[in-house]
């Protein structure tokens, strides 16, 4: 174990996985010589050469589209989308091919491609550097999605994605790239897809979150200390979802508040709420509440704090639920 920044954990994962499997290659804009705009791929070009750490043209659909062909040639490409909102051109390839190609071949060919990108707001960035686009990806059949909330999970979920025979999309909370430090296992470290994590045990109410909203949930729980007993569930993998863990915490506390940074309508929180409505009705002591971003474009950064779910909004939702 050693203490690492979240971005260092991502970089550590790459060094381990490229060393372990020589069919793994990294591709994207500025990932080579610059080591990525956030330095996620620092040192890979020098260590593994330009064939396995590829600076590509500035073309997200081209990156993912050529990655499909690279898979057919036996590679395991890891594609970096430089920012959340820059990834949208790649949705064309994701929806029409990445999620379908294995099925189209009757299961004969595998497409072990990983797509990873920094996501989310709170970093005082220009427009379209702040989105939480996970719903677009989760909604695509044939694609798995994970969002780490800690340095250890950033390493372990990325390793799982790289080793997975199916396409996986990883969203990394850019707000915490350099603001969060944590213990990260040395060497090979894999966090299996589809397993949620109980961050904190509690008995009265559960905060369900993923990615950058997990630390926020912890702050809200701290603020409620002495008032109520809060459990926190980190979803970690949005698809496949650890439904058992979600239902278990609902059964335990009977009250669920879902926190999601993305806009509210048809966000992933709605999916979680629907599952609870279908399967946990008799366990619930009140309505499932959501604290989310609003249904507006991600705002100018001078007012972004008003958009982002806050400790105050989470605390208010918990109190409302307790009073139900």
């Amino acid at each position: 174990m050693s203490e690492k920044l979240l971005i260092e954990a991502v970089n550590d994962c790459f060094h381990v996985e490229l060393e372990r499997d020589d069919s793994v290659m990294v591709m994207g804009e500025d990932v080579g010589r610059a080591g990525g705009v956030f330095r996620a791929t620092a040192g890979l070009l020098d260590r593994f050469g330009p064939d396995r750490c590829v600076d590509t043209p500035l073309a997200e659909a081209g990156i993912l589209g050529t990655a499909v062909g690279l898979c057919m040639a036996g590679w395991r490409p890891v594609c970096e989308m430089q920012y959340d909102a820059f990834s949208y051109p790649c949705l064309d390839q994701l929806i029409t091919h990445v999620g379908r190609y294995r099925w189209r071949t009757g299961g004969a060919m595998e497409f072990p491609v990983t797509i990873r990108m920094p996501y989310g707001g709170g970093v005082r960035a220009p427009e379209l550097h702040d989105d939480s686009p996970e719903s677009y990806y989760v909604h695509t059949p044939g694609v798995k999605v994970a969002i780490p909330s800690t340095p250890a999970d950033a390493k372990g979920l990325l390793a799982a994605a790289i080793r997975e025979p199916d396409p996986v999309v990883i969203f990394e909370p850019k707000l915490h790239y350099r603001t969060m430090r944590g213990e990260v296992p040395e060497g090979e470290h894999v966090v299996p897809l589809g397993k949620a994590r109980v961050v904190r045990e509690g008995s009265d109410v559960t905060l369900v979150a993923y990615g950058a909203m997990v630390p926020l949930a912890e702050q809200a729980a701290d603020a409620l200390e002495g008032e109520t007993s809060v459990e926190i569930l980190d979803i970690r993998t949005l698809k496949p979802l650890d439904e058992d863990a979600l239902l278990a915490t609902a059964a335990k506390t009977g009250r669920v508040v879902i926190i999601q940074e993305a806009p509210r309508t048809a966000g992933f929180g709605a999916e979680l709420a629907a599952i609870l409505a279908e399967k946990a009705m008799l366990d619930l002591r009140g309505p499932v509440l959501r604290v989310t971003g609003f249904d507006v474009p991600y705002p100018y950064w001078q007012i972004e704090d008003a958009y982002m779910p806050s400790v105050e909004r989470v605390v208010a939702a918990v109190r409302k639920l307790l009073e139900f």
Binding site: A61, A73, G106, G107, M109, G142, G194
Partner: protein
């Protein structure tokens, strides 16, 4: 850096008109090759014409006609080796037949039956790409990936004139140039994207002109001349294998049939031009060439047509004999590791289907 060869604006031609325009020949092709090319063209022509009949009989679904595109498909594929990869669009749906794929497989695809989905590795023929131009980056990626592994494999992507307006075409072509991928971008320019004429598709004088923007040569060839197509593709394959990167081939023809069975071109197409094209369609043109060259006899031609018809008779019989697909297939093959939610969804379906 890629060396940009001078674009060839004149259409390459080998086959003459039996009159003022003399026949040429392609070096390296012997009589056996010439007949094999003919066999492939007749096979695809028969596939296409029978498919139209099967559609009208309700035995296959909507079908994208490729009548008069056979010279482009057969000429190009004949220039490849078996290890080279083909990335077809729906206009080349039956191109796998040239690699030994059973006709029943492609017919099943058009029947919407899962038996129509093949393993690309069995033929080095990728799945049929339905969305326009999105397979161009796949062909580039495969060629680039094989090159990185030290193989000498190349790939070819087939697409139409309309595809050159798509971002995926641009991104795939640009990657090909930058990575010097051994890929051939084969554009069958038949003048129409459903009802949209080429003039509404581009302001470029020729589609081959686009190639120079990607640092690759652009070659124009008569798309109705199987020998010219073969020769142009062979040159491109040689460049690719020599490490000189991609080539763009614009094969020019005219769409003499509807876009697909659901299309009625009478509202937009020039009927006189269609009639002219039909008189000069590529199979008959090649047949006359072979007769002039003394390579093909009517008896041999009949034999080859008979073989192709038999292939189709057998193909449709096999496709129709496929047992109905199990709805459980819905949940197979999407993932290598399926989410456990699939069990629940399948159980829900079974309960309704088999109470």
């Amino acid at each position: 850096m890629a060396q940009v060869l001078p674009d060839e604006r004149e259409l390459r031609r080998v086959i003459g008109d039996g009159d003022a325009l003399p026949d040429g020949e392609v070096e390296g092709l012997d009589g056996r090759d010439l007949i094999e090319l003919y066999r492939g063209m007749v096979l695809l022509r028969t596939y296409d014409e029978r498919s139209l009949v099967y559609h009208r009989q309700g035995r296959i679904g909507t079908y994208a006609i490729f009548w008069n595109h056979e010279a482009m498909q057969v000429g190009a594929v004949y220039a490849l080796e078996r290890d080279d990869w083909i990335f077809p669009s729906y206009r080349e749906s039956a191109i796998g037949l040239l690699r030994g794929m059973p006709a029943s497989t492609v017919l099943s695809w058009w029947r919407g039956h899962p038996a129509g989905w093949w393993n690309p590795v069995d033929y080095n023929v990728a799945s049929i790409c339905v969305p326009i131009a999105t397979h161009v980056p796949h062909a580039t990626g495969l060629a680039w990936g094989r090159k990185l592994r030290g193989d000498r494999t190349c790939s070819i992507a087939f697409f139409g004139d309309g595809a050159t307006s798509e971002g995926s075409f641009h991104e795939g072509a640009n990657f090909a140039g930058v990575m010097r991928a051994p890929v051939i971008l084969f554009c069958n320019n038949n003048g129409w994207a459903i009802s949209t004429p080429l003039s509404a598709q581009t302001a470029a004088e020729t589609l081959a002109d686009k190639a120079s923007g990607y640092g690759m040569p652009g070659v124009r060839v008569d798309g109705g001349d199987v020998l010219a197509v073969y020769e142009a593709t062979r040159d491109a394959v040689e460049r690719a294998r020599a490490g000189e990167g991609p080539t763009f081939i614009e094969a020019v023809t005219y769409r003499a049939a509807p876009h697909a069975t659901a299309d009625d071109p009478s509202a937009y197409i020039d009927p006189e031009r269609v009639e002219e094209e039909k008189r000069n369609e590529c199979v008959g043109r090649y047949e006359r060439y072979l007769v002039r060259a003394g390579v093909l006899t009517e008896q041999l031609a009949e034999e080859i047509r008979g073989e192709a018809l038999e292939t189709m008779r057998q193909g449709i019989a096999e496709a129709e004999a496929e047992p109905a697909a199990d709805p459980g297939l819905l949940f197979r093959n999407t993932y290598a590791n399926s989410p456990s939610s699939f069990d629940e969804e399948l159980a829900e379906l079974r309960e309704i289907l088999e109470p």
